[in-house]
Symmetry: C3
Subunit: 263 residues, 3 copies
């Protein structure tokens, strides 16, 4: 199984070019699109997104990750085998695998530089010619030791962990989903003591808004800001039948926020 | 075959999470996406959309329907086996199956509450953990009698049927397609007596517009409002190379309209 | 393998209707979506897009091409077998195959008029009932000689070839990709003598802009207009981390442009 994520959008034929090459190399390859349509977040956000999306997949899934704003620079193409669970990530070595490494651990890193496995040598379509081609060969069970030389470490982003105690959180907005819900880096570890009957405020960039804690979107009135833990167990800021991203006028992501109980 | 429809958009990874779980449960499952991108219509519109989209599929297709604005409320998750043709619908019991029931009839209703088949117990991702999981087990030919207890009826929406005679129609706008064509609930039953050389008016919400009857989009001038029966044999209001939805400034759907012959 | 392209958008269920019919006819058919989301370009642009997208696919691929603005008119539905490589194109005979013919050559043309292979006879959904159905039968290895009578030529668009010498180009903007990069009809044939240290201007519609030649997007500053040859070896006009289409205010495509070296 190849799980495929890019930031290309599906309003071009590039995604199909990669799939075609994969099928050329391994006609039995099975491909699930994670998404190609989340847009132009930076690799900080995508590092989190990739971690979350990957969690649903089976062991031995090959993640084909083409979030590559510095394509053509000297950044390497790499294969990473993770530890627990055992997954394979084929990606540029630009920091995109930072969160995956922190969560799963890394067994092995290979630089994808054996040109015998390249599809073509092109200046700008590494997604097809390098990443896609190696994913296809790996899905055919070609041993990755032939793909290139081993590396000892990957490039990592300086991602700050969120901080929290019983009644306070310092976290970061990562991205919004198609409903305008704001996704954060705050995972529920059961130290929180939120309750439905208390009042909270969220503050960021000098602004402050009241919000409530709810278990479901629909428990709140239509226009009320609410926080809850989403199906992946991360804190989400939402408005039932509305867009929290618009309401809070969030333009940039990786913005720090603080949540405090006020009574 | 699992035919999958949601209103989530493809600008998030949620659709892939469901597919991944389906493939975990049944690696041979075949999935066709009906659409995830039609947007935030209400369940009245989606009840019609689901009926139309379903018509093209083969007997025994499993429809995985996650149009679920009240997720987390007490609405049930259900499996419905229809009568003619025999299809399986896995959906929330929120009225979304109203039109399917009227057209196909219902053989059997099961409440999907046997937690042995749940993927996880999550508060807000029933699409993956309940609907997706049961669709996958059904696609493996697990007998649905194990999925939960039988119910005697589904919740139905109060959907008004359109009215028509030879020269008049009272119907409802249901949704627009990507061209801005307005889709309606008026099915051609050959009682209509429209002709290309007569003049008609359409009125709704106190406004009135002239329109013509044509067989093809391209028979009309570029800016003229036209009505015709679409490929599914429903009345459609269109503008050739234009957007009827913009021209008529349609913001809300399920709006009643009336069409009259004037000469 | 069926490679499927339309201009319908994925915000309706029409694409799934075609896939469902294909699977009805040939349950083993494999379908890759080229794209359905590039929007409403004219058939000049799509003729180029189809050529480019097709290049990545294997011999014997069946291209199901439903770019059909004059559906319902007297334009024919055709199957074209190309020469080198051998591909099959199932498309309306409206000129969409002009560039494919010029590049690959044509072996055989069949008019798809044997109604035994139609799915339904509908006025407006030829994509499903004619094009989709014949693609499915061809993917089952039904000999296309049964599909209809042979034709001697296809309709061709009057597409002007670009002109160029060492330091000058006259070409056409064809479409933009999701990044706002402008794609052109100018293929690199190694007669160009561009270099990174010279200065160029691009002019069109009475306007003129400076631009540079680069190998990679990221070699330029963020706001600078640049030209380079893309992964398909066509000239592309771009802005690193920006939209050249917005910057140049390109509204219409098939616009002629000229590039000159100035020092």
């Amino acid at each position: 199984m190849i799980a495929f994520i890019t930031d290309w959008g599906e309003d071009s034929y590039y995604v199909s070019s990669v799939k075609s090459v994969i099928k050329n190399i391994n006609k039995n390859a099975e491909i699930i699109d994670i998404t190609h349509n989340m847009g132009k977040y930076d690799i900080y956000s995508y590092s989190h997104i990739l971690l979350r999306a990957s969690k649903e997949f089976q062991e031995n899934t090959i993640f084909l990750v083409v979030i590559d704003p510095t394509v053509g620079s000297s950044r390497k193409a790499i294969l990473v085998e993770t530890n627990q669970p055992k997954y394979y990530f084929i990606a540029p070595d630009n920091g995109i695998l930072t969160q995956v490494k922190r969560k799963y651990g890394i067994n092995k890193i290979i630089e994808l530089n054996n040109k015998n496995y390249f599809w073509k040598e092109s200046n700008t379509f590494h997604g097809r010619d390098i990443f896609g081609a190696f994913a296809a060969y790996l899905s055919k069970n070609i041993n990755f030791k032939y793909f290139g030389n081993e590396l000892l470490k990957i490039n990592e982003l300086n991602i700050k962990n969120p901080f929290y105690n019983k009644n306070n959180i310092i976290g970061h907005f990562l991205y919004k989903d198609s409903f305008g819900n704001l996704e954060t880096d705050v995972e529920n570890n059961n130290t929180f003591n939120f309750d439905k009957h208390s009042s909270y405020v969220i503050s960021f960039e000098g602004k402050e808004y009241p919000l409530n804690y709810k278990e479901y979107y629909s428990e709140c009135g239509d226009d009320k800001l609410l926080m809850h833990f989403d199906s992946s167990n991360y804190l989400e800021i939402s408005i039932y039948k509305g867009s929290a991203a618009s309401y809070l006028n969030i333009k940039n992501f990786n913005t720090k926020f603080e949540i405090k109980k006020i009574k």
